[in-house]
């Protein structure tokens, strides 16, 4: 069933892909026999029979994911999005400490261990990447603002 739904979705995407290749993509002028639209058309032509074959004869195991597992997965995806959202505003250190701690906790780490992991990953990660390897990681808008405030206050 899951196979069919996914194949159906792929079919829609492929049809849209083929439709664009047939109508939208056009070179204003060209000397070569094959233009930018030919290759996508060929791909569409090969993909559609493959998808139809899966629709006709799906073979995946039933999509068995327990309710609790779904919950864990959705939570993880949510946390990842939150991490991505807060990456620049909070900066690498703060966002990583928070993300690391919460994920470790949610996956069943002991409380102290999770906090230790989060702090370690955030602080040592930053030192390792920025100081030692000279990579570019966000300092964080909030952190910068706070530093400005402190420096501003000391003047």
């Amino acid at each position: 069933m899951a196979d069919r739904i996914f194949a159906g979705f792929l079919l829609l995407v492929t049809l849209a892909y083929g439709y664009i290749a047939l109508t939208v993509i056009k070179a204003p002028f060209q000397y070569d026999p094959l233009g930018p639209e030919s290759w996508p058309r060929i791909l569409t032509l090969v993909a559609i029979p493959c998808i139809l074959l899966i629709l006709w004869k799906p073979d995946a195991e039933p999509f068995a994911v327990a309710k609790r597992t779904w919950f864990r997965l959705v939570l993880m995806v949510f946390l990842l999005f939150a991490y991505a959202e807060l990456y620049e505003p909070l900066g690498f250190i703060l966002s990583t400490v928070i993300f690391g701690t919460i994920v470790a906790l949610s996956l069943g780490a002991p409380r102290l261990g999770a906090v230790g992991f989060g702090l370690g990953a955030g602080v040592f990660g930053y030192l390792l990447c920025v100081t030692l390897m000279d990579l570019n990681l966000p300092d964080g808008e909030i952190v910068e603002a706070a530093f400005d405030l402190i420096e501003g206050g000391s003047d």
């Binding site: 899951a2 196979d3 996914f6 492929t14 892909y17 664009i20 993509i25 056009k26 070179a27 204003p28 060209q30 000397y31 070569d32 026999p33 094959l34 233009g35 930018p36 030919s38 290759w39 996508p40 791909l43 090969v46 493959c50 899966i54 073979d59 995946a60 195991e61 999509f63 994911v65 597992t69 864990r72 997965l73 993880m76 995806v77 990842l80 999005f81 991490y83 991505a84 959202e85 990456y87 620049e88 990583t96 993300f99 690391g100 994920v103 470790a104 996956l107 069943g108 780490a109 261990g113 999770a114 992991f117 990953a121 990660g125 990447c129 390897m133 000279d134 990579l135 570019n136 990681l137």
Partner: protein
């Protein structure tokens, strides 16, 4: 022959540079570590660390030496979790569990680990020697390839991919097509026409290779780990004092030799990597051992342990051959390495041996050194790696996410990429769940423009006449091979079934 020695000399000059030498060691060490962690195989390891290696701003040969070290180090380390935990790091280590874990259960973990280390070393060494001999030869043939030949070669590559990788031929093919379609996004290099960009400026240059790799492999793997989450500690068997004896090596010498050759040649086939090689080698050895083998294989037979380990390390080297000489990767992981080369503006292919010898030969020479380094690292330090196996999943999982985010953010500092890898991770998780293998997707993505450009070039030469694709002997042979590689397994399994029915 003289060319080869000259090339090797160039290569060793590069690889023995102290900085590069350090990178080989570092790569091998990190690779073994990644391979040893249950659930993280070579492909995920290379995928997660690739952007970080890119961000460090090394010279191309240094970055490639580091990544290649991680790659075969991980292939090497995969056996540790297979033997001690019965959990393979990735599909190429599955066969190792069959006889490796029973040996560890019998209290011979140390012997199993050291035999497999020696088998891996010999497999890896044989394959790098074969690579030195055949690589330049293949490159000199490939220089004469016309665009039409390249199209035929691609068809052969995708045919062997579809036939030998994954459970379902159609799904593997579809996976490759998804990759090829993703590769068409962006401005068409020949005409300057934007394709599938929907007016989004970020898409004009196409989807970044690193984002696809980290998303489909790193992030999808992370979701897979969350799904499969095991509570608490897994039980590791202790590493005891038993060790490989001369008698063991003498007993398995032919097994190792045969498996190395099988592994190398399967690795060379485009699209098929270590997992197919180790399965075929194991099957072959079991058949050769006959009735007596049927009883002992699977219960801790040293031959059953040595065969897949020699084969998967030989295949790791073999898969490098088509990547370096033809620009067509032999496996998912080498597809990532190929993408890495492209990011450094190095076009892999037949001309690389003459135009960028320091990269091609430097890599080969570093593999000689890496192999020795791995053996030296692995025999005494295996206890340390074994202890790492007990890193609980609840720390490993967030660590993967943090590494992936660091890697992707450091490329251009665009936070939108972080969302993109998460979305691609979800997509990749679904694909995996539905039994699509992910390696074809990345192979399709990397080869997309090469395939398309050669097809267009061929037809430009012929003025639109499609018969150019089949008009010379090389192409016809390649198409014939493509047909054979698709139908031979079908025919063999039919015959086996008929034989079983009789």
């Amino acid at each position: 022959m003289g060319d080869i020695f000259g090339g090797l000399a160039t290569g060793f000059a590069v690889a023995l540079d102290p900085f590069n030498l350090m990178l080989v060691m570092l790569g091998c060490f990190a690779g073994t570590l990644i391979g040893a962690l249950p659930g993280l195989g070579p492909i995920n390891g290379v995928a997660i660390l690739l952007p970080i290696a890119y961000g460090l701003g090394f010279k191309p040969e240094s970055a490639l030496i580091l990544l290649a070290g991680i790659y075969y180090g991980a292939e090497y380390g995969g056996r540790i979790s297979s033997i001690l935990l019965n959990v393979p790091g990735d599909s190429s280590a599955v066969m190792t569990t069959l006889d490796g874990h029973p040996m560890a259960l019998k209290g011979e973990a140390g012997r199993a680990l050291s035999i497999s280390a020696v088998a891996s070393f010999i497999g890896g060494s044989i394959s790098v020697v074969l690579m030195t001999l055949f690589g330049p030869l293949l490159a000199s043939v490939a220089v004469t390839f016309s665009p039409g030949n390249y199209v035929a070669l691609m068809v052969f590559a995708f045919a062997s991919l579809a036939s030998l990788v994954g459970k379902s031929t159609v799904k593997t093919l579809l996976g490759a097509l998804i990759g090829l379609m993703l590769a068409t996004i962006g401005i068409d290099a020949n005409t300057g026409v934007p394709r599938y960009t929907f007016g989004i400026p970020d898409l004009l240059a196409g989807i970044d290779f690193l984002i696809v790799v980290v998303g489909l492999f790193g992030m999808a793997e992370l979701l897979h780990l969350v799904e499969q989450q095991v509570k608490g500690h897994m039980k590791t068997l202790p590493v005891d004092k038993s060790f490989v004896s001369m008698a063991d090596i003498v007993k398995v010498r032919w097994t190792i030799l045969r498996s190395s050759l099988i592994g190398f040649f399967i690795g060379v086939l485009p699209g098929t990597g270590a997992s197919v090689a180790s399965a075929v080698a194991y099957g072959t050895e079991k058949r050769i051992a006959g009735a007596e083998g049927a009883k002992t294989f699977g219960t801790g037979d040293v031959r059953g342990l040595a065969a897949p380990e020699a084969a998967n390390n030989a295949a790791a080297g073999g898969a490098m051959v088509p990547m370096l000489t033809l620009g067509i990767p032999g496996s998912g992981t080498t597809a990532i390495l190929l993408g890495a080369l492209l990011m450094f503006n190095v076009q892999p292919g037949p001309l690389m041996f003459t135009q960028r010898p320091e990269i091609a030969w430097g890599l080969i020479a570093s593999m000689y050194i890496g192999n020795v380094a791995l053996l030296v690292i692995n025999l005494p330090l295996v206890g340390i790696f074994a202890r790492l196996l007990t890193i609980p999943q609840h720390y490993l999982t967030p660590l993967i996410a943090i590494l992936a985010f660091v890697g992707i953010y450091t490329i251009v500092g665009n936070p939108h990429d972080l969302f993109l890898i998460t979305l691609l991770g979800i997509f990749g998780w679904f694909l995996r769940k539905l039994e699509f293998s992910l390696a074809p997707v990345i192979l399709g993505f990397v080869l997309g423009s090469l395939f398309e450009n050669n097809l267009r070039r061929a037809l430009s030469i012929s003025g639109g006449d499609w018969s150019i694709l089949t008009e010379d002997a090389t192409s016809v042979v390649l198409y014939a091979l493509a047909i054979i590689v698709v139908f031979l397994p079908v025919w063999l399994s039919r015959r086996a079934r008929r034989a079983a029915a009789d």
